[in-house]
Amino acid sequence: MTNLTQSRVWTWGLGLWMLSGIVQTHAQSVDYQALEQLFGEPVTTSVTGKPQRAADAPANIEIITQDDIRRSGAISIPDVLAFVTGVDVRTSGLGAQDVGIRGYNQAANPHVMVLINGRQVYMVDYGRILWESLPVQLSEIRQIEVVKGPNSALYGFDAVGGVINIITYDPLKESVNVASLGGGTQDYLTGSVVGTAKIGETAGLRLSAGGFKAHDFAPGPLNRTDTLTRQSPFAGNFNADGRWQITPQIEVFLEGSYGTMRESRPTPASLFDTEQLHQWSLRGGVNADTPIGILSLSVYRNQVSLDGLTITLPKLQPLAAYEQQSVTVIQASDLLKIGTDHTVRVGLEYRDNAATASGFGGRLADIDYAASLMWDWQIAPAVTATNAVRIDHVEVSYSGTPTGVSGLTAAKFNAVRIDAPSLNSGVVWKATDVDTFRFTLARGVQLPTLAEQGAQINPGTTSPLGFYGNPNLLPSITWNAETDYDRSLPAINSVLRTALFVQRTDAVIATDFGGPLTIVSRTVAYRQAANVGYSTAAGFEIGIRGHSPSGWRWNLSYALAETTNHTGLNAGGVIVSAQLYAHSVPEHVMVAGIGYAYEKWEADLMARWQSSFLDVRAPRTPGPLQLVSIDNYVTFNGRVGYRVTDNVTVALVAQQLTAPRLITTAGAPQERRLIASVTARF
């Protein structure tokens, strides 16, 4: 038998064995609803890939339930996150929000990984999140899982600040049928519909659609074009999620979405601009419970068409921005319990982040091959250790003609290779029935984004300065150490949680807008992305959350996050970069909430106080950025709901209840919002 023939026999044999394993196996993948009902608390897979009770996970995780979302009265996901301990939300307007975790947040923040049912939903240009473009309605969300701290060993780059995993209801197991209509001040109008159809016991399809439009806040001193577009944001999304249980052991899924939006938001350069885009996504996959573990295969593609970008700076040539972005991902994993004490997860991933844009002079792509291994070991009934590693190998692919004065060439791009290991390690010690300690260590990796590698904005396009990416950027590395202590207080149905963390990020990546200045001649100069030193962070969190059988619920928390800047950016007091790091996020934040439900009534009031911080604003004429001190403030949100019938609820929501106008960033002030809504559930 030749080597080739032997190889084929082995390949076919392995394939048949795996297939027979699948056929003879017995169950589907994670059933969130059934496991949550069994254990009486939310279940997550966001930390290790293995299903776990949140309290048992080897990371600091907060789970926001559908009940929390509904009673918050939030009209966006960041509105919900703003009341989570350790989370910072920068609101620049309706639909324009950036979310950071533990001390790092900025315009177009790339430090947080956001997923919808495991599908990563970032923009490939700067790794930022356009929250209003996410094709998910609040009423179809089962839970939002917020993992604080780096989790790169499971998710790869972008997960250096944390992970936000949005889990929707499973159409195979949960029927959600909701229609909602709302309107309020700022001419705000919103509506959403979610419907689930089941075909017997083995197939389910959930369709959802929704959107909003509004006449947003007073624009401030802007040019006419931006004033018009800025004051009329809108978003509309459609999503389909189908699941089919082929056998009791095998489940396949297919998801698709479409969305469009226009919103104004600060760019990484702190310019306050308007973006309009369309996006599509398609994802399919299979989960099978086999004798060799839970095998999962997922393939998806996200595509974004950026139709227009309006630049605020007056008298300058608008950037003829068109951009086609795509993310293509293939993920395969095997999750297996070995014996009684060990669970391992082996993962392989292929990722192609690509953009074709005038600002790249062609097509630029990062092709990432990754392998990961997670090992969870129950050392003793009360002690579990988890270790996870991941290796990313990135190759850059460029086709086009680099432009400008930066000296970039196609060969320089195509020669780039990056290898980056990530690590997550944790020990959970359940000292007693009510006391849990958690010790974690993580090495997170922030890979350079496409714009940071390949942007080519020539001098005179948007500014006398040119702005360029740098293909030779190194990944930014974040080390994080953390100790948590949780205590259940059953006498008052509450849980007390504390966390203490320290962090250091090396090889900080300055974006193309904020990197070092190169002077070519008296009239030609440019900035270029670069690795620029390090930043540290340290912080503490303490919070209590509980409820009473009589219908009361409460929460109170305090978070401290102090960051330092050793990057050399903005040296000499000349502000050229929005990446301030030191004092750029409120160091002190307190969140409080109280709610009561009585018969057909629900009432909730939430408050957030945050200390002052520094933000930056782009001037109306070319020049250094302006440093703006944002004073400390307190804001209150409230909701009152009344169940008119078993199916219909009306609610009144007030956001920023105590202040008609509030300065929350260096952008335009935020206005108080009053929103009335009616929701029907079937």
């Binding site: 994670v30 059933d31 059934a34 839970i294 009684t340 004490d341 009510v434």
Partner: protein, 166 residues
């Protein structure tokens, strides 16, 4: 020897009474059996013949699930059975009333290829029963993997990853 001694200990030592919340956990846990319980399957409540306290406990448990024990998409019907009568089989799950844990219950469960459930963790550690559950203050499920395997009992992989196995 230990097993024999255990078997003859009075029911106060091997107390196995189930609260309503415990039974709710039992129902939800057995929904993760492979294959899931058949429709109208029997959940036996085993008591010790001649032990009034044990019989009383079994009757109390049966009363708590007189309408059936919901387990996923199916409902199990309770049947109080003298431990000597378990040999006849016909049940998919057996829960141990006070004093019923021991080698005879284990043998009967294994012969019937049924899952044995108790609230007594020591009975699981000793290999007399496959699953122990507690519902307060926190749901805890412990499975003796060898005992379950001997009875041909398997569970969904995700469930196995969330419980403690011995």
């Amino acid at each position: 020897m230990v097993a024999v001694m255990t078997w003859v200990l009075p029911s106060q030592v091997w107390g196995a009474s189930f609260a309503a919340t415990d039974l709710q956990v039992v129902g939800r846990a057995i929904a993760f059996m492979l294959p899931p319980p058949a429709p109208d399957a029997i959940i036996a409540i085993a008591y010790v013949a001649g032990n009034a306290a044990s019989r009383q406990d079994a009757d109390a448990i049966a009363a708590l699930i007189s309408g059936g024990l919901r387990a996923g998409r199916t409902t199990l019907r309770p049947r109080v059975i003298d431990i000597n009568g378990l040999e006849a089989g016909g049940f998919q799950v057996v829960i141990a009333a006070a004093g019923a844990n021991g080698p005879r219950l284990n043998a009967a469960a294994r012969a019937a290829r049924a899952l044995c459930v108790t609230t007594d963790i020591e009975a699981v550690r000793s290999g007399f029963c496959a699953m122990a559950i507690t519902s307060e203050p926190r749901v805890q499920i412990t499975v003796n993997h060898a005992v379950a395997a001997a009875a041909g009992i398997e569970f969904v992989a995700a469930f196995r990853m969330m419980i403690q196995e011995l």
